[in-house]
């Protein structure tokens, strides 16, 4: 990122040129589209008073004024606010409300290490302007988007209460905020901003070793999944027919949304990939699966392991299935015991429920596709999955692995 006077044109390829007003001064900044406003201000303009504490919108340390309203700098990408006016804590030196707050913060010992303080002052200033009265509960609720690890908030709350009370006593009324245009603050209507050329060729993991981690997993060894659930579905086909289909690994893969088979190194083992999407999060796991099948009990198991391209996220899972008679003759009930383990960033996202819901939906699609196939139809291609791309990726990996062997 770099800053330049407002009249020099032409961004570097892959960057975008942005005209902004920062602390009352028009500036032109060049930034990668992925740079958030916090980095634009800090690294591009040397305005280091805006601090980064979490970069996911919770701690509030990076709160700045965008067109006069508080917003998270870490969640506002450079391209989102061409033309916007930004005020950082450095721009509040002469602001009378901020001056009152600074005096009150000092008096009430409302800061210790000072790291949260710039964002806290900006949030507090907004409350001072908007809150009708110095109500402690409202102020605490109103400041909840700003975390302080040092003070225990007592001095901050007392300071804000004091400033609000003093201003209202002086007859200064709260602002209602009804004037502004609809939509996200800082986002100007019709203001285009483009960084079309993809930035510097992205480094991608080399495919050579893409599946090595998964290969290491012993699919015959014991497996203790971190998460487990059971799901069942009914099919209007006889149990024997259903069981037979479940024994056809190619057919099963065709019915499993996002799954692609690329090889079958031995009778019990398949290689392939599984693309999963949890909302905007997409991952392609490549690896192997081992199949077991017991006609005597109409049951079986599929045990698989895979990793994403860089070996960062990995999954291991086991589906045990049992086919039994359904409620009416010539129908089947399939009971699935699903156990899985995720490692890496996807596992550390802290919302295992989202994965369970996804697994449930995949199972439902799987049941539907099995049903269609049993009825003689081809399984429909699942919507939203770029299977071509997945296949291309897998084929590349296959070729590389093959070359590696040669």
């Amino acid at each position: 990122m770099s800053a330049a006077p407002a009249d020099i044109p032409g961004p570097v390829p892959g960057r975008m040129a942005l005209a902004l007003t920062v602390n009352g001064r028009p500036v032109r900044v060049e930034a990668e589209p992925r740079s958030h406003l916090g980095d634009v201000l800090r690294d591009g303009l040397d305005l280091t008073g805006t601090h980064l504490g979490c970069e996911h919108g919770v701690c509030g340390a990076c709160t700045v004024l965008l067109d006069g309203e508080p917003a998270r700098a870490c969640l506002t990408f450079a391209g989102a606010c061409p033309g916007a006016a930004i005020t950082t804590v450095e721009g509040l030196d002469g602001d009378p409300v901020a001056a009152e707050l600074r005096a009150a913060f000092n008096r009430e010992h409302a800061l210790q290490c000072g790291y949260c303080t710039p964002g806290m002052l900006i949030a507090a200033r907004d409350l001072v302007l908007r809150q009708p009265e110095a109500d402690e509960r409202r102020i605490r609720v109103g400041l909840s988007g700003n975390l302080c690890r040092c003070t225990g908030y007592a001095g901050i709350v007392r300071a804000v209460m004091g400033v609000i009370a003093a201003r209202r006593a002086r007859g200064i009324l709260p602002e209602t905020g009804t004037e502004r245009a609809l939509g996200p603050v800082g986002a100007r209507l019709g203001e285009a901003a483009v960084a079309v050329s993809p930035p510097a060729p992205a480094l991608r993991p080399g495919p050579a070793a893409a599946t090595v981690t998964a290969q290491a997993v012993d699919l015959a060894g014991p497996f203790a999944p971190a998460h487990r659930f059971t799901q069942s579905f009914d099919l209007a086909h006889p149990p024997q027919a259903v069981f037979a289909l479940l024994g056809d690994i190619a057919a099963v893969a065709a019915c499993l949304p996002g799954a692609v088979l690329t090889g079958r190194p031995d009778h019990d083992t398949v290689e392939g990939g599984l693309q999963v999407r949890i909302g905007p999060i997409g991952a392609i796991f490549r690896g192997r699966a081992r199949i077991a099948h017991d006609p005597a009990t109409l049951s079986g198991a599929v045990r698989g392991a895979g990793t994403d391209a860089a070996g960062r996220s990995a999954t291991e899972g086991e589906i045990r299935y049992r086919v039994g008679p359904g409620e009416t003759p010539a129908t089947a009930r399939v009971v699935l015991d699903v156990g899985y383990t995720l490692t890496g960033p996807l596992a550390q996202f802290g919302r295992p429920g989202l994965v369970r819901d996804l697994a449930g939906r995949i199972t439902a699609d799987f049941a539907r596709n099995l049903d269609a196939r049993l009825a003689g139809a081809d399984a429909p291609a699942p919507a939203g999955l770029n299977l071509l791309r997945l296949l291309a990726a897998l084929v590349r990996a296959r070729l590389a692995a093959w070359r590696g062997r040669a």
Binding site: R34, P184, A200, P280, G353
Partner: protein, 288 residues
Amino acid sequence: MKPAPFAWERPASLPALLDGLDRATGSVKLIAGGQSLGPMLNLRLVEPDLVLDITGIPEFRQARMEGGTLVLGACVTHADIEDGRVPDNTGGALRRVASAIAYRPVRNRGTIGGSLVHADPAADWVSALTALGASVEIAGRSGRRTLPVEAFVTGALDVALRPGEVLVAIRIPARPEGAAWGYVKHCAKIGEFAHAIGAVLIEPDSGRGRAVIGAVEGAPLLLTEASPLFGGRIGADFAARFDPAAADAALIAAGMADRVARHVHVTVLARAVAQAAGHTPTTLPEAA
């Protein structure tokens, strides 16, 4: 914690946006306020080739009444609703929900459309708009269609948008005369994702009611006909007739195995019912 590289376009009109979607060769994400997508980009959980910023499109930043129906452009923010910059046909229900979403700096950029498309089960609009009987207007190159919110949200972070389609507006019907509204969410701390949401829209006069149990693992559980929760009949005494066992049974039927979670969801729903009946004083908005 910086995003993987992406290209950025900020189309100035809906046709330009749809063209952009159509033209795109790699993976594309639409961004509005970025309050949900932003963290996922920063964490590299999402790595699109192209981000299309839709906040420059005027149509998305309008609100209007069509008859009794409130039509909110996709990029209307939570703060716009909280501050009363848009009309209200829900007797304050929208405003109260909006004011309790996350934190003010988030509400200043977070949008109602973005929240719905993101479809986090723990987010407020997914549940509240389902209970209010709202629908979404979707545009694609082949035209527009409308879906009820409950059909739009198909699962956790999953919605019924087809490739090339965008959500353009939310249509919220007027709250019926005499209808009671209750909305309660349970969070471990203020501004946090909800662990349980209960929302009810009860019409004692006509004996109808909608109930939503939200912040579950997938799409919210909607009872379009809520009378089983009230012993089979909805009347003026609906709060007294609320049957926690019926709600619990509904959750069991929906596959919620965890007894503690069910208890919390049933409790929160009961409190939403009590709130609808006016049994709990209107407390402060519990959000920042």
